[in-house]
């Protein structure tokens, strides 16, 4: 008896012979390009090598010869003319194959050079095929059955009902062998042979088949696998496969879980495994036949149930799913996908339009033409509407971003062994798409941090009298022209002692005296800070909270922490609604113009005459201490000093301050342009904008200015009384 190694020798010898025939054929074709016999022999050589290599599982040779065969097939069919270049190419292919065979013979693997040459040849071959591409490799029809859990008779049984056609045995097909084969896939727990169709003895033709079988079958297989048992006899029998009850619930679940796509009822059932492709095709064929009559054809679901291909409840589930998807789609149909670049360029143009329209307004005002001014103001209103509309196009709901965290929370809870539920609110809050895209990472970090460090273990929670299940909140809302996103937990809250100790250990501070809680909390945003005693694999990734803060600041946003010992902490991120156009308030200091976002402006008050720069930098605003920030001094401006100053009261992130300016110039729409490198060192500026007059105005970064005011105030006050500082600052912090 021959062995596989002998068979391999046969393969090598035979393939070498075929390659010689191939070479001979190709050389002949060089002289007589349409010698069909030569073409055939070249084709046959490739074809046979492919088939034989497949037997051994030499996939590399199979894949390569497949490409060559595809091209040769087209040549043979006259679809492709054999050029001299192609003959050359096939000769190279032949040589490559010969090399692959040598490698096989010496039992060595292909080196990179060989692979590259093969890839290059394949590329050339597919170029010959042009757009058509090679015939796809055959789908493995005879899938090797792999079953999980063995053939045990656990669970309930499949029911297979089969009626063989009269001619099966004449066609050489023995019903018994199919049934025995089915038995090899699992266990035939009951077979009932049905011979009701058997005619009286003298009419019975012993070469015809009158039998049918009702089979109960246990096995870890799917419907298609069972169907494939009967593949050769499929056209000569009636086959019904009913899944076991346990499968039924599996199908139901699958139908519910199939990703939402526009699936036809039949496809839905096929995908879930409830029916096979063939059952569907047969059902459709029946439907097609019935629809030729005058009456409308019965629904596919009914046909399938009637043919016992599928249970009614599965059809119902699929129909319900379909309805659900359609409803969603009818909503989705109202959306258009637009490339973000197009939107951006439109918004840019709208920005220019805003500036141009301001210019027109200015000229109209100068000419004092009443009708003109009226028309201009009407136009300005429309431009404003267009601007708002354009900005809204870029707005998306944050809900989708929030929903992504359901998975994160689930996975991380499992990883940590904590039971944590996620509570989402404000999912319909809208913000600029570019902001949404960039907020995901910082949010992920905060969420992980809260779950890892914030929420205690179940035992600790119970000991502290809290529900064992921790909760994590994601919330979003609009507040004075910005979007606030909160990540909150009901954990233990931040520990002042531990943060201070850590900060001292890291050399971030010397002592905590005079630091407010908020200031202490902010220490965790310092580079290299980690509060957990045990650095876990979740948060101890070397990415610290400092990166979170930087990411948020890059979006012109801020982050603050609210924490109460024992009841949890909340990280509050404030972000601008949009990054491109703002409603601004224009002010003048000296010869320059400055803009602050209008929604940060609370009010404007006149500063009493004669107050000079060396007077205290705060005023009493209706009993509230309001720090002042003199822009003239802050930016070191020169120019004529006016006698009366104005104070613009601004608010950001719960803090207030008064900006001292020379003149109030009113509202405007500002298209924010980034500042050049020159201004990079200047604190308190976030951009520039061009006024209708053509002049440039600088956009103030209120958050930075407020921070500056707070620091300066703290310094000033601490000089007076150390003891009162923290209290004061805390007030300023919480506003």
């Amino acid at each position: 008896m021959s062995t596989m190694s002998e068979a391999l020798q046969t393969f090598l010898a035979e393939s070498r012979g075929l390659l010689e025939a191939m070479e001979e054929g190709l050389l002949k074709l060089e002289e007589i390009p349409d010698d069909s016999e030569a073409i055939n022999s070249v084709f046959r050589a490739a074809h046979t090598i492919k088939g034989s290599a497949g037997l051994f599982g030499f996939d590399e040779i199979v894949a390569f010869t497949h490409e060559a065969e595809s091209v040769l097939d087209k040549v043979r069919d006259g679809e492709l003319a054999l050029s001299e270049a192609m003959i050359g190419l096939f000769l190279s292919c032949r040589d490559h194959l010969s090399h692959l065979l040598d490698l096989l013979a010496s039992d060595s693997d292909a080196d990179d050079e060989t692979r590259q040459r093969g890839d290059a040849l394949v590329a050339q071959l597919s170029a010959c095929l042009g757009g058509a591409g090679s015939r796809s490799m055959p789908v493995e029809q005879e899938a090797v059955f792999h079953r999980e859990g063995g053939d045990g008779a656990q669970g309930d049984a499949w029911h297979v009902s089969v009626r063989f056609g009269r001619d099966v045995m004449k066609n050489g097909l023995d019903p018994a062998s199919f049934i025995r084969y089915l038995g090899t896939l699992g266990q035939l727990s009951h077979v009932e042979t049905v011979f009701d169709a058997m005619p009286p003895a003298h009419e019975m033709d012993p070469e015809e088949c009158y039998l049918g079988f009702e089979i109960r079958f246990h096995g870890e297989v799917d419907k298609t696998e069972i169907e494939s048992v009967f593949e050769f006899v499929r056209e000569d029998c009636e086959l019904r496969i009913l899944p076991p009850g346990s499968k039924l619930s599996e199908y139901l679940q699958l139908i519910h879980e199939l990703p939402e796509e526009d699936l036809l009822l039949g496809d839905l059932l096929v995908r879930s495994g409830a029916i096979t492709r063939r059952e569907l095709e047969e059902g459709l064929a029946v439907q097609g036949q019935e629809s030729t009559s005058d009456e409308a054809a019965p629904p596919l679901g009914e046909i399938l149930v009637e043919r016992q291909a599928v249970q009614t409840e599965l059809v119902d589930a699929a129909l319900a799913k379909q309805k659900d998807v359609r409803q969603r789609q009818s909503q989705e149909a109202r959306f258009i996908r637009v490339h973000a670049d197009k939107l951006d360029s439109m918004i840019n143009l709208v920005g220019e339009l805003v500036i141009a329209s301001a210019g027109v307004g200015l000229i109209a005002g100068r000419n004092k033409d009443a009708a003109m001014m009226e028309a201009v103001s009407e136009m300005a209103r429309l431009v404003e509407d267009i601007r708002d509309g354009a900005m809204r196009l870029r707005m998306v709901e944050i809900g989708e971003t929030f929903n992504r965290f359901r998975r994160v929370v689930r996975d991380v809870s499992k990883e940590l062994g904590k039971d944590i539920e996620l509570i989402i609110s404000g999912a319909d809050t809208e913000l600029d798409k570019s902001v949404v895209e960039r907020i995901g990472d910082p949010l992920t970090h905060l969420v992980r941090n809260a779950m890892d460090h914030g929420i205690e273990s179940a035992e600790t929670r119970i000991a502290r009298g809290k529900p064992a299940r921790g909760s994590l909140r994601l919330n979003a809302y609009h507040e004075s022209g910005s979007v606030v996103i909160e990540v909150g937990d009901d954990g233990g809250g931040l520990s002042r002692e531990r943060i201070v100790a850590k900060a001292q250990e890291k050399g971030l501070i010397e002592d905590a005296q005079g630091l407010s809680d908020a200031e202490v909390w902010n220490l965790i945003f310092e580079p290299g800070f980690s509060t957990s005693d045990a650095v876990s694999n979740l948060s101890g990734r070397g990415v610290g909270m400092d990166v979170v803060k930087r990411n948020i600041e890059a979006l012109r946003g801020t982050v603050e922490i609210e924490s109460r010992a024992g009841s949890g902490s909340t990280f509050r991120i404030r972000l601008p609604l949009t990054l491109a156009i703002i409603d601004g308030f224009l002010m003048a200091v000296g010869e320059g113009h400055y803009v602050v976002p209008l929604d940060m402006v609370l009010e404007c008050v006149e500063l009493g005459e004669g107050r000079s720069s060396d007077e205290p930098d705060y005023i009493n605003l209706r009993g509230e201490v309001l720090p002042l920030l003199r822009l003239r001094e802050h930016f070191g401006l020169e120019g004529p000093v006016v006698r009366r100053h104005n104070v613009v009261v601004v608010q950001w992130g719960g803090r207030k301050a008064g900006l001292v300016v020379d003149e109030l110039e009113g509202e405007l729409q500002a298209v924010i342009k980034p500042l050049g490198r020159i201004f990079a060192g200047l604190r308190g500026l976030s951009g520039s904008t061009i006024l209708g007059s053509g002049e440039v105005a600088l956009v103030l970064d209120v958050a930075q200015l407020l921070e500056h005011a707070r620091l300066r105030e703290a310094e000033a006050v601490s000089a007076v009384s150390v003891g009162r500082t923290s209290e004061r600052t805390a007030n300023a912090m919480t506003g």
């Binding site: 393969f11 046979t48 088939g51 290599a53 497949g54 055959p138 097909l173 018994a176």
Partner: protein, 122 residues
């Protein structure tokens, strides 16, 4: 008693590999290198199944099946045709000639064994 299977293919490698697989599964094997050779070997001996390539010199598989189905001693013998993925038209032709089972080339021995055991009892 072991069943006998005839392999008809012009590739010696295929005959040998399939032969090894079938013998390993307990079958007797008769080899033929083309349709003509195969007809010659249908000399009254009992053949339980024929594995037959379509594309062969001298006599192709379809012609062979037609001839074989006309022989009293072999007319009910099942045939597995070896086909290529592009052979849909050939498949029709084979169907007409009386072949019902198909295995697509390239295949590996276990696939052939599966197909065989669907068709004949051990």
């Amino acid at each position: 008693m072991a069943k006998t299977i005839m392999i008809v293919d012009d590739s010696a490698t295929l005959r040998q590999v399939v032969g090894i697989a079938l013998k390993g599964a307990g079958y007797e094997v008769v080899e033929a290198c083309d349709g003509k050779d195969a007809l010659g070997k249908l000399d009254g001996r009992k053949i339980h199944l024929i594995v037959c390539d379509v594309n062969m010199p001298n006599m192709d598989g379809i012609t062979f099946v037609k001839e074989m189905k006309a022989m009293a001693g072999y007319k009910f013998t099942p045939v597995i045709m070896l086909t290529t993925e592009a052979g849909e038209a050939k498949k029709q032709e084979g169907q007409m000639a009386g072949a019902r089972a198909w295995v697509v080339k390239p295949f590996q021995p276990p696939q052939m064994l599966n197909a065989v055991s669907k068709l004949i009892l051990p």
